[in-house]
């Protein structure tokens, strides 16, 4: 490794880390390409998939369906991977997905204290805060304090259930359907299902 590596852990200004990382990552990609390990076009395709095809809309459609179709909701809570597999318009979810239902008695929150495990196929790539120390450290000990950071206050008697994603099981929160949405279409409902409401750090947002 170069002497350059000894710089890690010290404060960088944003610009210097950026240019340093651009150069280092480009160098590694060049080596991997020259060795025939990767085709850069395949890397482009992976990046494009996560930039344009997989995001929280997938999860929002599942939630909206569960709000309007009681049989689907039962199937979802019983075996989420299987139930979502029956919906042609949502990307394949992969195995080991568990849907957990918010009720007036219980609010669910998802975290990965050890790294950044997250239901990518349902929600896309996790936001920075989900992968960062403040959330990972506090979610399991002071979830109400964390919820306050998101502007969410729950009744004092509501049970808070935190799911730490320490294995390859993945969790999707099924939020409560807000009042005032009776008769809405699945499409309208999907619009109010936010990413954070499916992590458990937010609630569905009905525009006034």
């Amino acid at each position: 490794m170069s002497a350059h590596d000894h710089d890690h852990g010290h404060d960088h200004d944003h610009g210097s880390e950026l240019s340093e990382m651009q150069l280092r990552v480009r160098a590694l990609e060049t080596i991997l390409t020259e060795k025939g390990y990767v085709d850069p076009a395949a890397l482009d395709a992976i990046v494009e998939t996560y930039e344009t095809k997989i995001g929280p809309r997938n999860g929002a459609r599942v939630v909206a369906k569960a709000w309007t179709d009681p049989a689907f909701k039962r199937a979802l809570l019983d075996d989420a991977s299987k139930a979502i597999g029956t919906l042609g318009h949502v990307s394949r979810v992969g195995d080991h997905l568990i849907a957990v239902e918010n009720t007036p008695q219980r609010h669910n929150m998802i975290v990965c204290t050890l790294c950044s495990c997250y239901p990518w196929e349902m929600l896309g790539l996790p936001p920075i805060w989900y992968k960062a120390a403040p959330y990972r450290s506090r979610a399991v000990k002071d979830p109400r304090g964390v919820l306050a950071d998101f502007g969410v206050a729950l009744p004092q008697e509501t049970e808070i259930r935190v799911w730490d994603s320490t294995a390859e099981t993945r969790f999707l929160v099924l939020p409560m359907r807000p009042p005032g949405t009776e008769g809405w279409s699945e499409e309208q409902l999907a619009d109010i299902v936010t990413r954070d409401s499916m992590i458990g750090t937010g609630l569905p947002k009905v525009q006034p």
């Binding site: 490794m1 890690h8 852990g9 404060d11 880390e17 990382m21 651009q22 280092r24 990552v25 480009r26 590694l28 060049t30 080596i31 991997l32 060795k35 025939g36 390990y37 990767v38 085709d39 076009a41 395949a42 482009d44 395709a45 992976i46 990046v47 996560y50 995001g55 394949r92 979810v93 992969g94 195995d95 080991h96 568990i98 204290t113 790294c115 950044s116 896309g124 936001p127 920075i128 805060w129 990972r136 450290s137 506090r138 000990k141 002071d142 979830p143 109400r144 950071d149 998101f150 049970e159 808070i160 259930r161 935190v162 730490d164 994603s165 320490t166 294995a167 390859e168 099981t169 750090t201």
Partner: protein
Amino acid sequence: MNGVHDMGGMDGFGQVEVEANEPPFHHFWEGRVMAMSRAIGANGGINIDAQRFSRESLPPPVYLASSYYKKWFLALQQLMIGRGMVGADEVAAGHALRSSPPLQRGTFSLKDVARVTVRGSFHRDVSTSPAFKPGDKVRAKNINPTTHTRLPRYVRGHVGIVERINGSHVFPDSAAHGNGENPQWLYTVVFSGRELWGADADPTLKVSVEAFEPYLDPA
């Protein structure tokens, strides 16, 4: 390993800061790092557990001060150097200086993309029956391996209740170190906030972890 990555219950990291309308990647290089990690993992035989262990093994000051994808980059490069797939001299030169044997599954190309953008299954059949059933009281073992484990420190030694059996899965503690998949039964185990954090804890709090059978004793 008892690393700084095992953050559950630590204090002092401050408030959660949410970025509105956050893009999937903030810089071009972040997407390249994510894609290279998936590609080399899939075709080069570096499983997710080995990748996680490599990130956990970054020196604590580096782990804490580096951005998320910088950690991924440092860990990937270190793993590839450690396995002889890339030379430190090549990294310094910014170019391949010699040819290398092909990856186990060949060049990662367009036909491989679908395989890494849908999650694979970690389920593996085992010949044993699960030792625990929903409702059983269990104690998370007090283990402190210096190797990879997915039993976080904050539950070790504490008593919880088995809530679900989630099938038998690849055991990360083995797979991270080239010791085979060694599949084990996986459970959701629930702990009360007071069991984990003491009498001052939020009385409405319950926390679950996904615990492999070797992490648990009957209680």
